[in-house]
């Protein structure tokens, strides 16, 4: 029996992990300053070099990432697809309006209230899954989305006006979130914490059971685990996070209308998780990042193409949002046809091939 020398490679691997984490944390901490001052160690950086990204876009990405994470958590664990996920953002925004703008509760409490109302809404939205599955369930989420947005619209017109629902400035105690940098240092740890929370939830016995039984209902019932209750729990959890995202969205933008939560916003989330990789948390991160990067890159290209005329100019300069949508949609289509497991799936496969190539033949 040979004893494999465990210590040297193991210790080296551990060190490598620590170093990687240190680098990642440093980058993340330095990022906001990089983006606001547009220089690194004294060297000024052009817009294109920074991919034309500003800190407020990164903040919006973090807020949207909550939606993508929660949606991917739902699909990955419970195997349920919710087309109307943006509805929970609306629920959060509405709760924030009621508790924050109308009743004057402090910001952190508003967030908690949003989480609770989101969970309740998620529970309700998940109820159809007890009765129908598959396409019919997807349709129920579609219908619910319209209903929720209608309720928001009625609320907006009844208590506020056409211009929108206003939100007070967000503050944690005495520390006001009034600059993008402050928002960043609030949102980043929050997103990381939620990512961690979701990941751990997937690793519990319940989480694992749910995933394993996700597609095999009969096996689940035979094992005595009530998968249906677990699914409702997953839905409630996912929706509460999305509602928090919605509240943050509202506070960040300081004013929202019901149009912000239309079906197109909901579809963005689906597109994000398909591009990133359905059912996986890293996939949500990648998807949200792509969603952030694409408009910025297009904007950058448009700035460079300042002198072109005709159709190209029309597309690049006058119709930037449309071009972004066209590329976004085409990316989803291409991935669905050729790589339905998304970008993270592609990366994983490449990694596996690389590992096989290194160790084997």
């Amino acid at each position: 029996m040979t004893q494999t020398p465990l210590n040297p490679p193991r210790a080296a691997a551990r060190w490598a992990r620590y170093v990687r984490r240190l680098v990642a944390v440093s980058v993340l901490v330095y990022l906001p300053f990089l983006l606001t001052e547009r220089q690194i160690f004294g060297y000024a950086l052009s817009n294109m070099q920074l991919l034309n990204i500003g800190l407020s876009q990164v903040n919006l990405m973090l807020i949207t990432m909550l939606g993508a994470l929660s949606l991917n958590y739902l699909t990955g664990s419970a195997g349920l697809i919710s087309i109307g996920h943006a509805a929970f953002y609306a629920v959060g925004a509405m709760t924030a309006a009621m508790t924050g703008s109308q009743w004057g509760w402090p910001f952190p409490v508003v967030l908690v209230a949003a989480a609770i109302s989101g969970a309740a809404a998620g529970l309700l939205a998940g109820l159809p899954s007890l009765r129908v599955r598959g396409i019919y369930f997807v349709l129920s989420t579609f219908a619910l989305h319209y209903i929720v947005v209608f309720v928001f619209m009625e609320y907006q017109y009844k208590f506020f006006d056409v211009v929108g629902v206003p939100y007070k400035a967000a503050e944690l105690g005495n520390w006001a979130l009034n600059t993008p940098v402050r928002w960043y240092f609030f949102l980043l740890p929050l997103t990381v914490a939620i990512y961690w929370l979701l990941r751990n939830s997937l690793r519990t016995r319940e989480g694992r059971a749910m995933q394993a039984m996700r597609d095999h209902e009969l096996a689940a019932t035979a094992n005595g685990i009530d998968v249906r209750i677990l699914r409702l729990k997953a839905f409630a959890f996912s929706s509460s996070i999305a509602a928090v995202g919605g509240a943050l969205y509202a506070y960040y933008l300081t004013n929202v209308t019901s149009e912000f939560f239309g079906i197109h916003f909901a579809i963005q989330f689906i597109a994000m998780i398909i591009i990133g990789g359905m059912g996986s948390l890293p996939g949500a991160v990648v998807g949200a990042a792509v969603w952030l990067l694409l408009p910025s890159i297009i904007n950058g290209l448009a700035a460079q193409a300042g002198d072109t005329t005709g159709l190209l100019r029309s597309i690049l300069v006058d119709h930037k949002p449309q071009l972004v949508q066209a590329i976004f949609g085409s990316l989803v289509i291409v991935l669905l046809i050729f790589a339905p497991w998304g970008i993270t799936g592609i990366v994983n496969r490449l990694r596996a091939r690389l590992a096989a190539w290194k160790s084997g033949s």
Partner: protein, 288 residues
């Protein structure tokens, strides 16, 4: 007046029925829940604006061009996007059609801009009176044409040899293969028909409203129509369309114009919970 509301409900419902019929044909033939049907309606309206108003083609020629262009679009969508994904889970294909609608919307907005356009056709837009009731000529023509189209399709489906082959393919895919039916051609045909029916709907809706990408939203009413009527049922789709049209008009008049969405989609939700296979559908054995 109630009669008034019912009449416009029937008129609009006939158009919705036509679009829903196109949707049902695609679904029955290829098992695809085509979320892009709404955009196909919008495309039809834009084809109309282009051929009739921008290019100035004579009306009959324009109609032929619209139908041909939309049928071609349907066939291309099937060949390029749907066929490569055959055998994949239904949800993946649904997302594909959703992504397709995103791309279609962006393309229209790039080429035509965001402003709505008016569609003017030789179809009369006046009103004539029957007693105290005002009847819009446009509504009347739209309803009649829709019914003619639906009847024509029905006749095609039931009485022609190709219609027989389409029915057979929808009845059993493997059985069709075994019997020598060129299933690929059948599927393309279904998509061509589904798209052109949507385009005709777009022609009328584009005149009743403004031609803009918001027509997608109206076209998507075909979804609740088909589900309420029964997804696998051709007559069900038509009845569903009529119901949605009537309910929409009743809600708009007696509740509020903004309430139509919630009433229709609320009804959809109820049907999904109580009788998911729709009014005319058949309960499938096992889990729905």
């Amino acid at each position: 007046m109630l009669i008034q509301v019912l009449l416009s409900g029937i008129a609009l419902g006939s158009i919705y029925g036509l679009v829903a019929l196109g949707f049902a044909v695609i679904f029955k033939a290829t098992d695809v829940f085509n979320f892009a049907q709404g955009m196909l309606v919008a495309f039809g309206a834009y084809f109309a604006v282009t051929t009739i108003n921008l290019l100035g083609l004579p009306f009959p020629l324009a109609i032929i061009a619209i139908i041909a262009a939309s049928a071609a679009l349907g066939v291309i969508i099937h060949a390029v996007l749907i066929q490569p994904l055959s055998g994949r889970p239904m949800l993946a294909i649904i997302m594909l059609t959703i992504a397709l609608s995103i791309v279609m919307r962006a393309v229209i907005e790039i080429f035509f801009g965001l402003q709505g356009r008016t569609l003017t056709t030789p179809i009369p837009t006046g009103i004539f009176m029957v007693g105290e009731i005002r009847i819009s000529q446009l509504h009347l023509v739209a309803a009649c044409v829709s019914w003619v189209c639906m009847a024509a399709f029905f006749a095609f489906f039931r009485f022609t040899p190709i219609g027989l082959l389409m029915r057979a393919t929808a009845d059993g895919y493997e059985a069709a293969l075994v019997s020598g039916i060129n299933v690929k051609v059948m599927n393309r045909l279904a998509w061509g028909i589904g798209a052109s029916l949507a385009a005709v709907g777009g022609l009328f809706l584009g005149q009743l409203q403004i031609v803009s990408t918001e027509l997608e939203h109206i076209g998507l009413l075909a979804l609740p129509a088909v589900v309420i009527g029964g997804m696998q049922s051709i007559p069900g789709a038509i009845v569903g369309g009529l119901l949605v049209g009537l309910i929409e008009q009743l809600a708009a008049t007696y509740i509020s114009p903004k309430s139509t969405d919630i009433v229709v989609y609320g009804l959809l939700l109820m049907i999904l919970m109580i009788r998911p296979w729709g009014l005319f559908g058949q309960r499938e054995l096992g889990r729905v």
